[in-house]
């Protein structure tokens, strides 16, 4: 059942991603992007990382996607046509996929089934964050604050 769900979700995710990469209407592409991350979050759920999945939805749907649509709205005057298809980029992407797949299939050590694991509770994550990862956590906090201030400064109207 879970493998059926996995295939379904993977297909949905990849289809949404492809739509995000190719759709001409910017809004549709953005929503596809949001859908992609719903799919990725679902994959996280399947892999047992509930917390990360929820955080992903929280960050990408609640924040990044809204930011993106706002940015599109603010730069709306510029919705021009894309200049045709970029075959070079497509070729490179396909080549990258081929290379990665080849490397993955070639590597024997990743051909393993999932072991049985203890459920990952939020409490364990919290404890790890507050003990071994407390300095990275502080650094990320600082980084986010800096990014917040930086973004504000960037978009602030210049006083004439």
């Amino acid at each position: 059942m879970s493998s059926v769900a996995f295939v379904l979700i993977a297909v949905l995710t990849l289809a949404a991603a492809l739509a995000a990469a190719t759709l001409q209407k910017l809004m549709h592409a953005t929503l596809s992007f949001a859908l992609t991350f719903v799919g990725v979050a679902a994959l996280f759920f399947l892999l047992g990382a509930e917390f990360v999945g929820l955080a992903l939805i929280f960050v990408y749907i609640g924040a990044v996607a809204v930011l993106v649509v706002f940015t599109i709205l603010l730069t709306r005057r510029d919705v021009g046509k894309d200049r045709g298809a970029n075959w070079g980029g497509a070729f490179l992407a396909v080549a990258m996929f081929g290379g990665l797949t080849w490397a993955i299939l070639k590597t024997q050590s990743v051909a393993i089934a999932a072991p049985h694991i203890r459920a990952l509770t939020v409490r364990r994550i919290g404890e790890a964050l507050m003990t071994s990862y407390v300095w990275p956590l502080q650094c990320v906090g600082l980084l986010l604050t800096a990014a917040l201030i930086g973004a504000l400064v960037l978009v602030m109207e210049e006083k004439q």
Binding site: M27, A34, F51, L54, A55, I61, V69, L73
Partner: protein, 411 residues
Amino acid sequence: MINQSIDGFLHPDVSNSVDQIFVNAKQWLLGLLSWLTNAPGWVIQVASSLINIFALLFVFLTLFALMSVLERKILGRIQNRYGPNRVGPFGLLQPVADGIKMLIKEDIIPARSDKLMHFLAPILIAAAAILALGVIPYGRNMTPFTIDGGILFFFAVGSTTELAVFMAGWGSNNKFSMLGAMRAIAQMISYELPLIITVLPVVMVVGSLTPDRMVAAQAGYTFGLVPRWFVFTPWGATAFILFFVSGLVESNRTPFDVPEGESEIVAGHMTEYSGFKYATFFMAEYIGMFAITGLAATLFLGGWRSPVQMLEFIPSYIWFFAKLSALLFVYIWLRGTLPRTRIDQIMNFAWKFMLPMSFTCVIAAAVWHYAGRGLRGWLWSFVVIAIVYTALSMLLDTQRKFAPRTYRFAE
């Protein structure tokens, strides 16, 4: 959990069985299914989920119907009139009539709209609202979906609403829709911060993100009299008020309903919707309201717990819905009482008052915890909150800003 009310009207076992009647019914149903079809485990699991979902939908759609008519009636009383009283006894069948009207109305889609988004927006918004209902404990052993990070799930799903509102605004290809959507998103983002941050003290104190654990943490009574609900601590009371106000904004209710202020922008992002899609938006708004009030009750008002030890024999779900109804009544009451605020007032209030106060709640909860969770902690956290509140009100110069409005007349 042993029921201790021996001197009640009912025998404890009877009381217990009444309390667990829905849980037992579901178990029995699943057992029957398993016995009948001999289906594998995952089928039973899916069936269990489906039962939960149908129960949820049934209860809350009924409640929605009830609420719509009750709101109109209560508003009527507040405005010194009767409200709907023609369809059915006491006008109780009014929502049925409304539903039929909505269903058979013509569904108009603007010609130059983005059809796909226009279509998807109400679905997404309703789905998000209903999903959020799934993690709230409605009674003892009555949480539809027990997720480890339940609170996070609630807010993750809730944040999807913003995207849906945007889709509605953009997809309608209408200036009013767009403006309404922008306003809605702006105020929702602004108030999402205090909404989440006021939950943090509870999460900190309980040490878990699971709603069930939060209800469990509020068990017991101080001096056998006052329930140990978080609303009875200084930080809890403050956080509850802040949460409640943020909840008002999140569900776009009066006095924060500028996104659909009909005198300015028709109906906001719902301008171009009609018929059943409009009804869906309407429903989503109410269900979002239920979810927020349900969470407020769970976090601060002890969830399904009885406020008086003597009354514990009354089934837990009844207590929960009693609290929910009380909060909903306050929603309606506010709507009938308060005028609409301006968007800049809403924003200033969010960033200059709500956010600092929310952070104060977090600190006050920490103080409360480290001072021993007793009377001393109570006083200390009260002092912290009082200091910050006073400082904020002095800093923000509330005397001047929230003074009665003055008018100037054109000459």
